[in-house]
């Protein structure tokens, strides 16, 4: 029987988008049955319009070309700059885009589940999300996770 991977994706930042899609697409390539449950900010990863950002603010581990004190990081445009820089670096290093990894997940039958409670909480509409996803709640995730070989909260 196929191994199973269950992931909860709770982050909606550019850097937070990589681990769930990357691990699930690779797991599918290794013959796993994989499901990702998107909750809270993780729901951003299911949007048709993927405008994910990364912020150095509150993230002292983010490598910066020059040290930028936190007080300066609140300047408008700095987040956009950091995001642009990160995207440029990802491309230069031959890293797949989030959209590309998400597409591979869909092609390889990774089930993408939107947490219905948080969809309602944020008043998201079905039309905000890509096609091919499903909806579910805590019990949906736990049923699958109870049989999973690997379970991750990201």
């Amino acid at each position: 029987m196929a191994k199973k991977l269950a992931i909860i994706a709770s982050k909606g930042t550019l850097d937070g988008a990589y681990p769930p899609f990357l691990l699930a697409s690779t797991a599918a390539a290794l013959g796993f049955e994989a499901k990702i449950f998107f909750t809270f900010y993780g729901l951003q990863l299911l949007k048709k319009d993927l405008s994910l950002k990364v912020s150095p603010l509150g993230n002292p581990a983010m490598p910066m070309p020059v040290p930028v004190p936190s007080i300066v990081q609140i300047i408008p445009g700095l987040e956009a700059f950091a995001t642009w820089m990160m995207q440029r670096k990802l491309k230069k290093k031959g890293v797949a885009s989030v959209a590309e990894l998400r597409e591979i997940c869909l092609e390889s039958d990774v089930e993408l589940i939107a947490c219905q409670m948080t969809v309602d909480l944020f008043d998201f509409k079905d039309s905000d999300f890509i096609d091919g996803i499903s909806h579910g709640g805590a019990a949906t995730f736990l049923e699958f996770a109870s049989e999973a070989d690997i379970t991750l909260y990201i």
């Binding site: 697409s25 390539a29 031959g94």
Partner: protein, 77 residues
């Protein structure tokens, strides 16, 4: 062990693309056909053997020439 039926060059691509591209190509191949996979991602040195082991596609050879990794993978049954 230099015989192969199909080749993919993933030079310049990073993890997990070499594995994902190998998977896609192997899906289209027939049993016992051989794939030559070329990688520059140094992580592939461990990732490709792990992929082969988990998917039952024998890794026939792996070598490094001029900073590039060359793997020959046989499509398993």
């Amino acid at each position: 062990m230099s015989d192969f039926d199909t080749e993919i060059d993933t030079s310049g691509l990073n993890c997990p693309l070499p594995v994902l591209k190998a998977r896609k190509m192997l899906n289209e191949m027939s049993i016992s056909q051989r794939l030559r996979l070329i990688c520059t991602d140094t992580g592939a040195l461990k990732d490709i053997p792990a992929f082969c082991k988990m998917t039952g596609n024998p890794l026939l050879s792996s070598e490094e020439v001029d900073g590039k990794l060359y793997f020959i993978i046989e499509k398993g049954a």
